[in-house]
């Protein structure tokens, strides 16, 4: 990893080096904050960006994507893989943690997802250490932020007059070096100067081990209690930075068509409905158990990292007001 310090004006100049990249930043449009292409001139001087309404996953794993086209009696045709280079600036450390979970699923397991892989290779993810906490966010309770590199290619720290960049991408390091007044190799991200990062007394959340969580799988009363106000919509999973479940559907027009991948949600009954009519997760109780254990037991067990980023989006959008922090506490009470 390389830690670079740049004067503010030089930092913006350095971004000019990335002319072959499309620059994406969070931008407010009415009630929503979306990742939008922007020009270098339109970047805010103070490098403050709002948290996006949706999560960063859509930049690598869009809600809808065509995997191939088909035509009767003819071989399948794969669409041209997206080769547009993107520099995504202004995401948060929690978003970057979500990307890491996605990478583990799409890249580190066989078969490798070629669509995701191509996008990831063409994307530079530069996060910014949070200058303030957002509604309901709790990454500090999970030890994931608000100033950690997580799955990003680089993270930016506001050092008042200067901009600190901690980079683990060779391309980024190479291009920024010429503009930095100081740079050094670092082993550990805790060694670097981070400037003023907001601190608060993080709420202590009792996170159990994957095995301890797994032992609660048959606690029907627990899952029933937690899921009782749930409505079974997918706003939490669609906005979650780590939810990567998808559905495959054929869109046909007579003899031609395409196979499309779209987000799916374990909160829907249709998600596990089998052709026979049997549904192994017939009620919200089983669906909630799946969603919770996937994030807090299965992903930590398989990937070694937490499947929750603490971004707080699910808490903010839940129409039934379910607060994941309280769910975490409720679950821990059942620990054996």
């Amino acid at each position: 990893m390389l830690f670079l310090k740049l004067k503010r004006e030089n930092f913006f100049q350095a971004l000019g080096e990335f002319s072959e990249y499309a620059l994406y930043v969070p931008r407010r449009e009415g009630e929503r904050v979306l990742l939008k292409e922007t020009s270098l001139q339109d970047l805010p001087e103070n490098l403050y960006f709002e948290r996006t309404t949706g999560s960063a996953k859509e930049i690598l794993f869009p809600q809808e994507e065509t995997l191939f086209y088909f035509k009767r009696y003819e071989p399948l045709e794969r669409p041209k893989l997206e080769d547009r280079k993107k520099l995504v600036l202004g995401l948060r450390p929690c978003d970057a943690h979500g990307i890491q979970v996605l990478e583990d699923n799409f890249l580190n397991l066989e078969p490798v997802d070629v669509y995701f892989k191509r996008r990831r290779e063409n994307t530079l993810l530069v996060t910014i250490a949070c200058s303030q906490f957002e509604d309901n966010c709790f990454c500090d309770s999970l030890g994931l932020g608000p100033d950690r590199l997580n799955g990003a290619d680089a993270i930016i720290y506001d050092l008042r007059e200067a901009v600190g960049v901690l980079s683990r991408s060779a391309i980024l390091s190479e291009k920024l070096k010429g503009y930095a007044f100081q740079f050094q190799e670092v082993e550990n991200e805790d060694q670097v100067e981070k400037g003023e990062v907001p601190r608060r007394d993080p709420e202590q959340l009792p996170i159990l081990s994957p095995e301890e969580y797994l032992a609660l799988i048959s606690e029907d009363k627990l899952w029933e209690k937690i899921s009782s106000p749930c409505l079974g919509c997918a706003s939490c999973t669609y906005l979650c930075p780590t939810c990567y479940c998808f559905d495959l559907q054929d869109v046909t027009y007579g003899p031609v068509g395409k196979r499309v991948r779209t987000y799916d949600s374990c909160m829907f009954g249709l998600y596990t409905l089998e052709a026979s009519g049997h549904n192994p997760r017939p009620t919200l109780k089983e669906r909630w158990r799946q969603r919770f254990l996937h994030k807090f037991s299965y992903i930590p067990f398989l990937e070694g990292i937490l499947g929750c980023t603490g971004c707080g989006r699910c808490i903010e959008v839940c129409p039934a007001g379910i607060d994941l922090r309280e769910v975490i506490k409720d679950v821990a009470k059942f620990k054996r």
Binding site: E31, Q63, F133, S228, G232, V260, G321
Partner: protein, 322 residues
Amino acid sequence: MRQDDLFLTCQKAFQERGLDLLLGYEKSSSGFLRPAVFTAPESLERISWDPSASLNLATYLPRFKSKKVGILAPGCVSRSIIILINEGQINREQVTIIGVPCRGLIEKRKLGDLEGVRLVEFRDESFVLEKENQRRELNLEDYLSESCLSCAYPAPVIYDYLIQGPSREGSKGFLEKRIKDLTRLSPEERLLYFKREAEKCIRCYACRQACPMCYCESCFVESSEPRWLQAAPEPVDNLIWLLTRVYHLAGRCVQCGSCSRACPEGVDLMSLLAWANQSVFELFQYQPGLKIGEKPALGEYRLEDPDFFWGGGQTEGKKCCS
């Protein structure tokens, strides 16, 4: 409305009616209300009701068909219950309605950044937010939902128990004006407006799940044979979803705004819903959810019904929503 009145009445209802559960609200850590299912009279100490509630509790009723259920009901919820009874989804005997006065519900989105903010209290015409010991008093009327600004029946229409307290005065106008503005646009401009709204939709179906009238066990969007629309959030499919839901709710929607507040993307759902309801009212002089035993306007045929759309009938030449 007094808190002990609410608690004692609910407890009384729970015991007198032998309820299995009671649907109400409790305060979340930020002071805003969230739905809660109370299964024992002792737990009712936490029950609470104020304008920070969001979800229409009648949404939960079809889940508890075999249970005796109590429910807190302001005007819109009581009307939803009437429709659910009229449409054969629940029995009147099975539901115990605890009517509550309603001063309108807050649209949380209008409050902006809520990091570290706690809702402290409601006063007569305002409410108080606190952040880092700084208090801010806001005028309730300015932060009410669109649906509540156009609510004709804030007080419960039917009830078994009633909590005393002032309700907002019934007032129409807000959404009606929006509809007028939209009808003034050319059809192309209007289509463009709703296409833009549809583009925001991520098809999480929070609107459907938050709606007491969307109780179908299998929604048309889930059908794969035939497939009515694609699962992917293509703008045109989103528009089909939003419009079809509106048609299914025409003359059935009580305009509680539950769907609109549940939408994570802030899609304008209320304009179309209010427009469909207004059309049904103009054509059939029917308002949903006011009388038990009534048939829904679109579920009944009367000889005097207008049938201008196929050429004859008594309202020849009349167009709806003129």
